[in-house]
């Protein structure tokens, strides 16, 4: 039978005073140890059912990438870069790879640039599917969660086929191009996956009325000037009427040769953010189809072989690269002094601004029951906030 631990052996934990609500005004930790919040905590001050003040409590996923990257060569940093936010690993690979390419001035082969955009858009699709799954789970719609993650799995099968890993591409988009060529027969596999994703998007439209419109309309409204002042980017900003997308305004790779449009809405509430993400998935599918048609032949990486770390030299210089991630604008400032390792790397994740200023602003004055709707309509990912 279970050995009864006697009093001595028990580790004595100093007595923690639980928060018993005296009257209606009390603290409420939508905190890290909580099934609805990811590893990130918000300290809320609540009066009755209304939130009077919110204070973000980050730092649970701080791994110090900016310091780690100062001790590794770009090829190793590429492997590191997809752990900045694994929900869109390939997008972060792309940001990092572009920064190094611009520093070294290498001419990335055309085929590699097309494969890079293909993989980045596939990663955006599966990131939006994760958002849809977790958002419907937060609103209590279990079917949406199970189906979204089920259909996302088909996209992960494509990643498994091409990059060799389901969630971790391990620096597939690396400085100089991509690490491996597309295995033959992968084009029609991708086309089949796109049809399956469209099937899921049709289901999302069917489920729309029950889940989203009732729980998110008029909830968490963000005005345009607040959005800019708080640093919102991506879908959160486009939901407040600002028509801006880094792929159009500051085009990189081959985005200027592709035609796609940017969904923009005026209301700025949680429902607008949901609609925009749904429309963005359609645009991503359009982009992928165009890329698949025009995929040129040729090499996939400029220096075909990986140069050993001892002989890698990045030319002196500094560069600031901006990319449109699924969550917003992700940037890398890289400074090099001519050695093999970058001298300073600054990663700017979209969620650094969405989870602290924007979330605190939106939660103030909202209802308790609306917290998950607001929280997940920002599509937060604590990893790229803490870095």
């Amino acid at each position: 039978m279970i050995k009864q631990m006697n009093e001595k052996e028990l580790i004595t934990i100093e007595h923690i005073e639980p928060i018993i609500p005296e009257d209606t005004d009390y603290n409420f930790y939508f905190g890290p140890a909580h099934s609805g919040s990811g590893n990130f905590g918000v300290k809320l001050r609540i009066d009755g059912e209304k939130v009077t003040s919110a204070r973000a409590d980050p730092g649970y996923l701080h791994r110090g990438f900016e310091k780690l990257m100062e001790y590794r060569v770009p090829m190793q940093n590429a492997v590191l870069s997809d752990r900045v936010c694994i929900l869109e690993a390939l997008n972060w690979n792309l940001v990092h790879a572009e920064a190094v390419d611009e520093l070294t001035g290498v001419e990335v082969p055309q085929r590699a640039r097309y494969i890079r955009v293909l993989m980045a858009e596939l990663s955006r699709l599966q990131s939006h599917l994760i958002w849809y799954g977790v958002m419907s789970l937060a609103l209590g719609f279990d079917t949406g969660f199970k189906m979204a993650f089920g259909y996302r799995d088909y996209i992960l099968d494509i990643f498994e086929l091409i990059t060799g890993g389901r969630v971790y591409p391990a620096g597939y988009i690396c400085p100089g191009g991509v690490r491996r060529d597309l295995p033959d027969g992968s084009e029609d596999k991708i086309k089949r996956v796109l049809d399956q994703t469209e099937e899921m998007m049709q289901k999302m439209k069917d489920f729309d009325n029950i889940v989203f419109s009732r729980r998110t309309k008029g909830v968490g409204i963000l005005r345009t000037e607040d959005a800019i002042r708080l640093g919102a980017t991506g879908p959160v900003l486009r939901a407040c009427g600002v028509e801006t997308d880094v792929r159009k305004d500051d085009p990189y790779e081959i985005y200027d040769e592709l035609d796609f449009d940017i969904p923009v809405r005026r209301e700025g509430d949680a429902y607008a953010r949901c609609l925009i993400r749904g429309r963005e998935m359609e645009e991503s599918i359009k982009i992928i189809k165009q890329v698949l048609e025009r995929l040129p032949e040729g090499k996939v990486r400029e220096p075909a072989k990986i140069t050993p770390p001892s002989r890698v030299k990045i030319p002196e210089g500094e560069v600031y690269v901006r990319n449109e991630l699924a969550r917003g604008e992700g940037c890398v400032y890289m400074r090099s002094v001519g050695e093999g390792e970058p001298y300073r790397v600054k990663l700017r994740g979209p969620d650094f601004l969405h989870m602290i200023p924007v979330l605190e602003h939106l939660l103030k004055g909202s209802q308790i029951a609306d917290i998950p709707a607001i929280y997940w309509s920002l599509n937060i990912c604590p990893a790229d906030m803490d870095r």
Binding site: H34, G140, F141, T143, M147, I368, D370
Partner: protein
């Protein structure tokens, strides 16, 4: 309360047998519920016997108790909850008319309707006793749901009893055995049929409220207040709550079947005697299965959770209105 089935000893054995079979049936239906809602979400889902494995697992785990909890109430709550559900089962015509309910009497429909509150009340008491902020918020929310779904349920009970009283004045209209043996569908005009359908619809909305399944599971809404009421429970205590929940699903299902589908198969096929009653019993289980799938599984898979502020309005406003219209349509035009 007149004990109809002979000696007290018969009643005790009957109770134990009924309780065991009710729990077995409840866990089995929970297994079906998870399997079917899984297939509705295009996944395979756990085996049918998963609830049995869960309960046996909970039984083995040791039950940890929070330091500041009110110990006697904390441990009594699960026991009271399960016991009250079993007493409800005693009154219900479980398995068609073949087995007369062990305890039956004059006004047991009213008694059943209010006895069904006791498990929820015990859970609320347990939640407050465990002194965790999540459980406290969960308990407050559970009371709101309990208070709001009582009104439509009462309207449905009164409607049926009132109509029966009109048809058979002077009978014990609130006795479940009587209700079960006098189906209403045949004796009401078209308006009555619509009235009965409206009443059945409001029962469909009330059942998730009673069982705290999805649209109304705000008391243990995991994203907002992690696990709410039963946050501090584990091991045997949680197993008892789990069993009470399973048995309650059977009890509420049986009540719905008794009120709306009290037909027996054997007279139609003309077989009587032990084989007939066995067929009735299986037919009853089939009816119970269909009603549970409709009210619990389908709604759980198809609908999202409501906000705490929407629960009272959806019950007091929407459902009660439909129940009242059903009542008027049923009772007035005869």
């Amino acid at each position: 309360m007149v004990v109809t089935s002979g000696t007290a000893l018969g009643a005790v054995i009957g109770t134990i047998g009924l309780a065991a079979f009710g729990l077995f049936c409840g866990l089995l239906y929970k297994g079906f519920d998870r399997k079917i809602s899984a297939h509705m979400q295009s996944r395979i889902g756990p085996p049918i016997i998963q609830p049995f494995l869960d309960v046996s697992k909970f039984m083995i785990k040791d039950s940890v108790q929070p330091e500041r909890a009110l110990t006697w109430l904390y441990n009594a709550a699960p026991i009271v909850s399960l016991a009250s559900v079993i007493t409800v089962l005693l009154y219900l015509p479980f398995g068609g008319l073949t087995f007369t309910p062990i305890l039956s009497g004059y006004g047991d429909l009213i008694l059943v309707v209010y006895l069904l509150i006791l498990p929820a009340l015990a859970m609320v008491a347990g939640g407050f006793a465990s002194s965790s902020p999540f459980a406290t918020v969960g308990a407050q929310r559970k009371m709101v749901t309990m208070m709001s779904y009582e009104f439509p349920l009462a309207v449905v009970a009164i409607a049926i009893a009132w109509k029966l009283n009109q048809l058979y004045p002077g009978e014990s209209v609130f006795g479940l055995a009587f209700i079960y043996s006098h189906p209403l569908w045949g004796h009401v005009g078209p308006a009555g049929i619509i009235g009965m359908l409206l009443l059945f619809f409001s029962i469909i909305v009330v059942t998730p409220g009673q069982l705290a399944t999805v649209p109304f599971d705000i008391d243990e809404a995991s994203p907002e207040i992690a696990e709410g009421l039963t946050a501090e429970y584990s091991g045997r205590n949680f197993a008892l709550f789990y069993l009470a929940d399973a048995a309650k699903m059977v009890a509420v299902g049986t009540l719905t079947v008794a009120l709306f589908f009290p037909y027996d198969l054997s007279p139609l096929i003309g077989i009587s005697g032990p084989v007939g009653s066995f067929i009735d019993f299986v037919f009853f289980l089939l009816k119970l299965f269909l009603v549970t799938m409709l009210t619990v599984t389908l709604i759980k898979t198809a609908v999202a959770r409501l906000k705490i502020s929407q629960v009272p309005t959806s019950f007091w406003g929407f459902t009660t209105a439909i129940a009242l219209v059903g009542l008027i349509l049923l009772v007035v035009p005869n």
